[in-house]
Amino acid sequence: MINESKNSTHLLSDNDMVDFIINGYLVLDTEIDKDLNDSIITQLNQLDSNPGDLVTESIPDLKKVYNNPKVKGVLSSLLGSDYSINTHRHCHRNPPGSKSQSWHQDGGERERHPNQISNLLMMYYPQSVDLSNGPTALIPGSHLLFANPEVTASQGNFKHQVIAEVPAGHVLILHYDIWHAGTANFSQNNRYMVKFLFDRISESNSPSWDHDPNNLIDVTLRIDNSPIIGLQKSLTNKVVKLRREMWENISGSNNTINTRIGGNHYFDRFSGPWPSITPDGQKVKM
């Protein structure tokens, strides 16, 4: 969950942006009031069929979600202030007893650009979502990888998966390529999630978020050193390279990080006390 923005335009901070680059998602409380959420649920329940891309024509109140100032601040930060909303949107109605999806990236076989933020998904939940009614599952950091759904089909729970339990009115904002799945609905009610897509229109020339150049060293250190959790170690170099490239692409600068890191932050991780041996034979640096 991101911290409350300190500025009036609800732009993300450098720290928020690095979190997004590393994890590929963020959770946002839109503070949409309960009456509006409840009204949207009522209207969704009254739909005789799935309106597909026309869901916002069927329920104009949904436009209030993506026109929310906090949502606009986040989207502007990640895609640039001239971002656009895609004409595709989709209402997922998961009835009681529905099963889990397999892990997948949206978009099928489309070309992917894991070092960019070109498209975002926004998942809006008009009702609270907990473990019982079909929360969305995510694999943090997986937006930097190419999934083959035929291979991931046999993979069940990931040890480091995130289950997005959110109160009503919250949205998930996701890198388009993140691996995700809707999970089983064990409750007695429909679980709704309305998905919107947003597109970057122009290449970035400068940071579109609440950026402070004085943070660049901390940004670099986080991008380089934040652990690769839940993936095999052999992907580390690839992931760190893509994180760096993503930061540079959305910053509109090709050398922001490289010039800053130079050799100044090298540290010799092997120096210091000799390691000791644990009872099961592992070497541990004290």
Partner: protein, 88 residues
Amino acid sequence: MTTKQRLLYISSETTHPASPVLSMAIYEPTLGSITQIDPKNSIPIYESVHEAQIDGWRVIHFPDQKTAESFDVIGYQFILEKLEEFND
């Protein structure tokens, strides 16, 4: 009673059987059995392939040493089996 094959798919951090589990799924040989992401119970029952072996599972597929270059795979996949008696 019928002897049937239970399957356990484990993706590990390395090809070493003692390396940490990244993902796990059990496929039961019973009609209507469903294997799916379970948000209520996402902690793996074994921490490693080795722990599963100790519990009686046999490895029947070892992970490929080279992954496809066109896509990424999270973890090195072992497939294990356990033969057990089932009431039909």
